[in-house]
C-alpha cells in the first residue's frame, strides 16, 4: 500500500503532462490570434473601418382595415424623416447650415437637438425633421455626397381615412415607450425595441398580432460615414448572406358600416357622447362612435407634444371610448326592465292601473314623478310612453331588488358584453348581497325605488343597453357584440371568419310581457303623448325609450328646476335606446349625450340619424313602405286626439 504522500508523487508525471497539454492548447490559441491579428490583421482592420455590414430592418406594412361595405378605413402611406448620425458628421457648420436651409428650420435648432441627444452613442441616428415633403426628400437625396451623416428614413405611416370618425374603435398605433417595453416584450414574447410601432388602442391593439405582419431585414454595406454603398451580393466574405422580405400584415374587414358611422358622427356634432348600433339577429356592431375624438393618424406620424397635450388636458377626455369604457345611470331606459320584471312576477298585468298624483310617499321620503301634476290613472303602456316614475316605483315596492336584478342580468346588464375590444367596463346591477359586501350595510327598501327607475347604484354602458333592447326586440336572444367580420391575407385567403355567437336564449314565462312592453316603447316614439314623439324621424318605425341620467342627486328644491338653467357640469345626461323597425326589428341602438339634459332632445336625434341611415341603405323597400305607414299612423292619432279632446277638457 502507498501512503497518501506517495500517492500524490506517483501522479506527478500525469500532472506534468496536463501542464504540457495546457501549454500546447494556449500555444495553438496564440497562433490562431497571431494569424488573425497580425497575418490577416491589416485586411480585417480595413474591413472593420471601411466596410460595415449593417443589418437594417425592413418594416412590414400593416394590414388594411375595411368596413362591411368594403370601403377602406385604414391605409398605409409612406412617410419620410430626415435623420442625422452624429458619428459621421463632417464639417459640422457647413453641413448644418445647408440642412437648415433645405428643411426650412430655424437656425440653431439642429444644434439644440444634437445637444439634447449628446449623451447617447454617436452612431445612433437622431431624427431632425419628421414628415418631410417630396421636395425636401429630393434635395437631400441629390446632395447626398455633400451631406455626410444625413439620410432619409422611410416609414410606413398609418392613414385613417375618416380622421376622427370611429377613432376609438379603430384605435391607433404608436411607438413603444421606455416604460411599455418590458410589458409588451413579456406579452408577445418578442424582442421589441424603442422605435417599434405597436397597436395601442381599439382594433389596432386587439388585432395587433394579425395586423402587424412580420418585419424583414436586409444587409446593407455602409461606408465609414454611414452612407449606403451597395447591396451585398458579390463580396466573398459575405457570400450567402440573404435578405428577408417583410410579410405584410393581415387585412381586416369590420362589421361596421361607414355611412352609418358618418351619420352618427355628424349627429353628435357639438355634443359629448356616444352612439352604438347593433344588428339584433347577429350581434354585429354596425356603428360605434364616441365624441370628442382624436385623429389616430397623428399618433403614427409621431405625436407632436402640442397635440398630445391638447388631448390629455381636455376635460372631456377624448381618449375614452364612451360606448364601452364608460357607464352611466341608464335613467328611465331601465324602466323597460323593471316593467318586464313586474309583469313576469305577476305584480302587474296589462290591466293594472296606478294613480299617479305627481309624487309617492314611502317611509319618510317623498319620491317625485317628473311631471309635477301627475299622470293620473296609468297602465303599463302609458307608464312607459310617458315615463311615469310612480307606476314603476309602486310596482317595485312589491318586488325585491334581487328580483329586478335577476331580470336585468338576463338581459345582459351588470356584466361585460364580451365585445373583443380592450378595457370594457361591466356596469352595475346592485343586489342586497352586493351592497352588504361593498359597503357593509343592509339594503334599504327605498333604494329599490330609486333603482327601479334606473338611478342610484344602477350603471350601464350604451353597448349594454343596446344589447338589452335588442333582446326585448328579438324575444330574448343575447348575442355577443362583435366588430370584426373577417381576417384575411393580402392574397385574399381567409384566416378567421367570425360568426354570431348566441350567449343565451331565454323565454319569458308570460307571453304578454314583451307584447305590452314593446307596445309601450312604440308609443314613446309614435304616440303624440310619447316622450320622444317630437323627434320620431320618418320611415323607420322606431320603438324606444328616453332617459335622463342624473349627474348629481336632485335636492328637493331643485327637482323641478329647468335643467338648462343649471351649471353645465350638473346637467343631466340624456339617453335614448331603441330598436327598429317595430314590426320586424333588425337593429338596436343606444345613444348617450353627456349633460344633454333630456333623452328626447339630445339623444333621440342621434339614434334616429343612424337608424335612418341603416334603413335607407339596407332596407330601402321597407323604408319607403314605412314612410307611407307613418302618414297613416299620424292621421289616425290626429283623429283620435280630436275625438278625445273635448272629453279631456
Amino acid at each position: 500500500m502507498f501512503g497518501e504522500e506517495e500517492l500524490v508523487k506517483v501522479h506527478k508525471t500525469r500532472a506534468g503532462m496536463i501542464g504540457n497539454i495546457v501549454f500546447a492548447a494556449f500555444g495553438l490559441l496564440l497562433a490562431r490570434l497571431w494569424y488573425l491579428q497580425v497575418y490577416k490583421g491589416e485586411q480585417l482592420h480595413q474591413f472593420s473601418i471601411q466596410n460595415r455590414l449593417r443589418k437594417e430592418v425592413v418594416w412590414a406594412p400593416r394590414g388594411m382595415i375595411h368596413s362591411r361595405d368594403d370601403q377602406l378605413l385604414v391605409d398605409n402611406i409612406p412617410r419620410y424623416d430626415a435623420i442625422l448620425t452624429p458619428q459621421y458628421l463632417l464639417e459640422k457648420e457647413v453641413t448644418l447650415e445647408k440642412l437648415h436651409k433645405i428643411l426650412m428650420l430655424e437656425p440653431g435648432s439642429i444644434e439644440k437637438l444634437l445637444k439634447k441627444n449628446q449623451n447617447q452613442a454617436t452612431y445612433r441616428p437622431i431624427t431632425i425633421k419628421k414628415n418631410i415633403g417630396f421636395e425636401e426628400l429630393a434635395q437631400i437625396e441629390s446632395l447626398n455626397a455633400e451631406l455626410p451623416g444625413v439620410s432619409v428614413q422611410t416609414f410606413i405611416s398609418r392613414e385613417y381615412k375618416d380622421k376622427e370618425v370611429g377613432a376609438h374603435l379603430l384605435g391607433y398605433i404608436s411607438e413603444i415607450s421606455q416604460q411599455q417595453l418590458p410589458k409588451f416584450r413579456k406579452r408577445d414574447a418578442m424582442d421589441y425595441r424603442l422605435g417599434d410601432f405597436i397597436g395601442q388602442f381599439g382594433i389596432e391593439e386587439q388585432l395587433d398580432k394579425f395586423l402587424r405582419g412580420a418585419n424583414g431585414h436586409e444587409f446593407v454595406e455602409v461606408d465609414s460615414r454611414g452612407r449606403r454603398k451597395r447591396y451585398i451580393n458579390t463580396d466573398n466574405l459575405f457570400k450567402g448572406i440573404e435578405d428577408e422580405k417583410p410579410n405584410q400584415g393581415m387585412n381586416v374587414k369590420l362589421t361596421i358600416d361607414r355611412d352609418m358611422q358618418m351619420a352618427g358622427y355628424a349627429a353628435l356634432e357639438g355634443k359629448v357622447g356616444s352612439i352604438i348600433a347593433i344588428d339584433i339577429e347577429s350581434g354585429e356592431v354596425l356603428a360605434m362612435v364616441s365624441r370628442p375624438a382624436f385623429d389616430p393618424s397623428q399618433f403614427s406620424r409621431g405625436l407632436t407634444p402640442e397635440y398630445w397635450r391638447s388631448l390629455i388636458t381636455n376635460t372631456e377626455n377624448p381618449l375614452r371610448d364612451r360606448n364601452i369604457q364608460e357607464h352611466y345611470s341608464p335613467g328611465s331606459t331601465f324602466k323597460a326592465i323593471t316593467g318586464i320584471s313586474a309583469f313576469e312576477e305577476g305584480v302587474i298585468d296589462e290591466n293594472t292601473e296606478v294613480f299617479c298624483n305627481g309624487n309617492l310617499r314611502f317611509g319618510r321620503k317623498v319620491y317625485h314623478c317628473w311631471k309635477q301634476a301627475g299622470h293620473g290613472a296609468t297602465s303599463i303602456t302609458k307608464a312607459i310612453r310617458e315615463s311615469c316614475n310612480v307606476f314603476f316605483q309602486r310596482a317595485a315596492m312589491k318586488m325585491s331588488i334581487d328580483t329586478i336584478a335577476k331580470y336585468a342580468n338576463m338581459f345582459g346588464l351588470g356584466k361585460r358584453t364580451g365585445i373583443s375590444l380592450p378595457r370594457e367596463v361591466s356596469g352595475l346591477i346592485p343586489t342586497e348581497a352586493w351592497k352588504q359586501k361593498r359597503y357593509g350595510q343592509v339594503w334599504q327598501p327605498g333604494e329599490t325605488l330609486s333603482c327601479a327607475i334606473g338611478q342610484s347604484y344602477v350603471l350601464a354602458s350604451t353597448i349594454q343597453m343596446a344589447q338589452a333592447y335588442g333582446a326585448i326586440a328579438n324575444g330574448g336572444k343575447i348575442y355577443r357584440p362583435y366588430v370584426v367580420k373577417d381576417i384575411y391575407t393580402p392574397k385574399g385567403e381567409f384566416i378567421k371568419t367570425f360568426t354570431p355567437e348566441l350567449l343565451s336564449d331565454f323565454k319569458l314565462k308570460n307571453e304578454k310581457t314583451l307584447k305590452y312592453v314593446r307596445e309601450g316603447l312604440f308609443q314613446v316614439v309614435n304616440n303624440p303623448k310619447g316622450t320622444a314623439f317630437a323627434r320620431r324621424g320618418k320611415g323607420i318605425m322606431m320603438a324606444g325609450k328616453t332617459g335622463t341620467s342624473q349627474v348629481v342627486r336632485a335636492t328637493a328644491d331643485k327637482v323641478y328646476q329647468k335643467c338648462e338653467q343649471m351649471d353645465y357640469d350638473y346637467r343631466h345626461h340624456g339617453v335614448f335606446v331603441g330598436f327598429a323597425p317595430y314590426d320586424k326589428p333588425r337593429i338596436a341602438a343606444a345613444a348617450l349625450v353627456e349633460h344633454g339634459c333630456h333623452g328626447s332632445s339630445a339623444a333621440t336625434p342621434v339614434v334616429e340619424a343612424v337608424v335612418t341611415a341603416y334603413m335607407q341603405k339596407y332596407h330601402p323597400e321597407s323604408y319607403l313602405e314605412n314612410l307611407e305607414k307613418d302618414k297613416d299612423i299620424h292621421a289616425q292619432w290626429v283623429k283620435t286626439l280630436k275625438a278625445a279632446a273635448p272629453a279631456e277638457e
Binding site: M1, F2, E4, E5, L7, V8, K9, V10, H11, K12, R14, A15, G16, M17, I18, G19, V22, F23, A25, F26, L28, L29, L30, R32, L33, W34, L36, Q37, V38, K40, G41, E42, Q43, L44, H45, F47, S48, I49, R52, L53, R54, A121, Y123, R124, Q178, L181, R193, L194, F219, N236, L237, F238, K239, G240, I241, E242
Partner: protein, 371 residues
Amino acid sequence: MYQTLLQYLKRYDFSFLGSFFAIFLVGVLNLYSATHSQSHEGLDMLYRSQIIWWLLASVVAVVVSVVFNPKTFERVSYFAYGVTFFLLILVMVMGDVGMGAQRWLQLGPIRMQPSEFMKLGLAMALARYFARVQPEKELTFRDLLIPGIIAGVPAIMVILQPDLGTGMLLLLIFAMMIFYKRLKWRTIITLVVGALVAGVLMYNFGLREYQRKRIHTFIDPYADAKGSGYNAIQSEIAIGSGRLFGKGFKNSSQASLQYLPENHTDFVFAIFNEEHGFFGSVFLVVLYLIMFMRLIWLASSVQRFYDSVLVVGIMSIFFWHTFVNMSMVSGLMPIVGIPLPMMSYGGSAMLTYGVCIGMVTAISNSRNFFN
C-alpha cells in the same frame, strides 16, 4: 503582533490569488467598455453588478477558506454532488426558459443556473471516489463504470436542457480528471479510436440533415453567413481588426455598432482583442497560464490525495472554460455558449468561482501547516 500577521499571511499563495484578481480587474474594465454604449436599458450598468457579484464571491471565498479545512470538503463531497444534482432535476421540472433553453431556476428571490454549480459538484464527487476506491490503481475500462455514471448522468441532463456547451464541458472535466488518475494509455487510445469511429458512423447514419448542416457551418462559416456564421465572422473581424496594439479602451467599433451578439457574456474576449490587440491577448493569456500552472504545481505538492485530485478538477473547470471560450470566439471551435471565467458577466458562475478559490486556498494553506 505584526510578526504574527505576517506569518499568517505568508501561508497564502499570492501568485495564484494575484493572477486571479488581475484577471477580474481586466474583466470589469472590459465589461464596462463592451457595454457602455448599449441601448438596452440596464446593460450599460452591468459592470456594477459584476463588481457586486465579485464582492459576494470574495466573501464566499474567504468564508470557505477560513472556516473549513480540506477534510471537511472530502466529507461533504457526495452531499454537495447530491444537492446540485437535485437542483438539476428541479430545473427540468420547474425551470425558467431563457434564451430558448431551460437553465434557470427561480427559488424565492434567488435566480440561479444549477449547471454552473454542477461543475464543482462533479469535481468533488470524482475526487472523493478516486481518493477512496483503490487510489493506487491505474484505471482501466472496468474502473470507469461508476465514475462514468457520476459524470455522464448530469452531463446528459444538461445537454437535454438543451445546453450542449455546458454538457460537453462536464465531460471534458471528467476526461481530464480520469487522465490524472492514470487512465491506462491503452484505454485512452481505445477510447479515442472508438469515439472517432462512432463519430463517423453517427455523422453518416445517426444525424439529421440540419444537425449535419451545423457541423458544416463550423467548418466553413462563410457558407452560411447569416446564421451562426454571421456571429463567427463578426467575431473574427473584431479580433483581427485589433492588430498588434488594438484600437484602445472603449474604442471597439464592432461592439458599439452591435454587430456582436452577447458582447457582455460569450464574446467579451473578442471585444478585448479588438481594443488591445495581439499584445493585449498575450498579456491576458499569460495571466490565465500563471493561474493554471500554479494549480497544477499545487496538485503535486499537497499531502492528501483527495486534495490533489480536487485541485486538478478545479483547474480543469477554469482551463476548459477559458480554452473553449477563446477558441470559439477566434474561430477554432464552433460557437457554443461558454463564458470566459472572471471576464464574462454572470452571477452563478462568479459564485462558483468564489467557492473554487476558497477551496484551493484552504488546500494550499493546509499544505504549509506542516512545513
